[in-house]
């Protein structure tokens, strides 16, 4: 009897805002991976309104801080943040929260952050 109950996918049929709430407890990488579970989860992820990025969690080996590797991580972060912001803006979806944590202050990044903030504010 119990086996039969568990064989049915109940969680996917929770309302969208509940699934959003579930994703908000996850690290953004874990949340993003749910996009390939099924069409339903893909929809949930594509409109997930909380963008929280922390570069420190992308660094695999803290001791490996050679400039080349750090540059790779930086580029990767910029790419992910840029894609995520555009995904929501281009689909006219609202962004509830946005946060970005990067370990090194980088003057070249200021214009990019400005651009993201401008897009987010205009999209509201």
């Amino acid at each position: 009897m119990d086996d039969k109950i568990e064989a049915v996918d109940r969680i996917s049929s929770l309302p969208e805002f509940v699934l959003n709430h579930i994703l908000s407890f996850l690290h953004i990488k874990d949340a993003a991976r749910t996009c390939v579970l099924s069409k339903r989860w893909n929809c949930i992820w594509c409109s997930f309104p909380r963008l929280e990025f922390d570069q420190t969690t992308c660094i695999k080996d803290e001791l490996d801080s050679n400039p080349e590797y750090m540059e790779q991580v930086r580029e990767f972060m910029i790419n992910v943040v840029d894609k995520s912001v555009l995904r929501l803006i281009q689909n006219n979806l609202k962004i509830e929260s946005f946060s970005l944590t990067m370990p090194v202050a980088d003057p070249n990044l200021i214009w990019l952050v400005d651009r993201w903030m401008e897009l987010i504010v205009l999209g509201r």
Binding site: D2, R10, I11, S12, F25, C35, W41
Partner: protein
């Protein structure tokens, strides 16, 4: 507020009636841990019977059990209360099957039990955290309904999440 001259605080009892007719007699302080009940009590004032057509007795009972524990723990002004609540919350969600989890979440949301919704959604999140896509599908019995090649395309587009 000044209508009563008694100084003793009597505990008001509310009667909650679930969709299947099952009723629960609960102290007001317990039931008002749920935002929806709290609003009804404030609005309707003297009404002691509250009908809840969207929750059945089994799950209403579980929600109220949670409220009771939290209300009791919070009345003892003990520093260890947070710890007790946390321990009890852990026990409460530990062995929930997904069907119960689903209905409890729906009930907690309908009754605006914010803390309970947080507890249950965090439980679901813990079943996803750090797992591979295939493992999550297995856990929740999710069937992929993508067209051939579609999943690969989405993975490529979000490759950063899979590295």
């Amino acid at each position: 507020m000044s209508s009563s001259s008694t100084t003793t605080t009597t505990t008001r009892l509310l009667m909650l009636k679930a969709s299947d007719g099952v009723t629960f007699e609960v102290e007001e302080a317990v039931a008002t841990k749920l935002g929806a009940i709290n609003n009804m009590v404030e609005e309707e004032g003297s009404e002691d019977l509250i009908c809840l057509p969207n929750v059945n007795g089994k799950f209403l009972g579980m929600v109220l059990e949670w409220c009771k524990k939290h209300a009791n723990n919070n009345t003892n002004s003990d520093k260890g209360n947070d710890e007790v609540n946390k321990w009890w919350d852990k026990e409460f969600v530990m062995d929930l099957d997904q069907n119960t989890l689903y209905h409890l979440l729906m009930a907690a949301d309908y009754l605006s039990g914010t803390e309970l919704v947080d507890l249950l959604t965090e439980k679901v999140a813990s079943m996803i955290r750090g797992k591979k896509v295939e493992e999550i599908r297995e856990t929740f019995k999710i069937k992929s309904d993508f067209l051939p090649g579609q999943e690969e395309e989405i993975r490529k587009k979000n490759s950063w999440a899979f590295e």
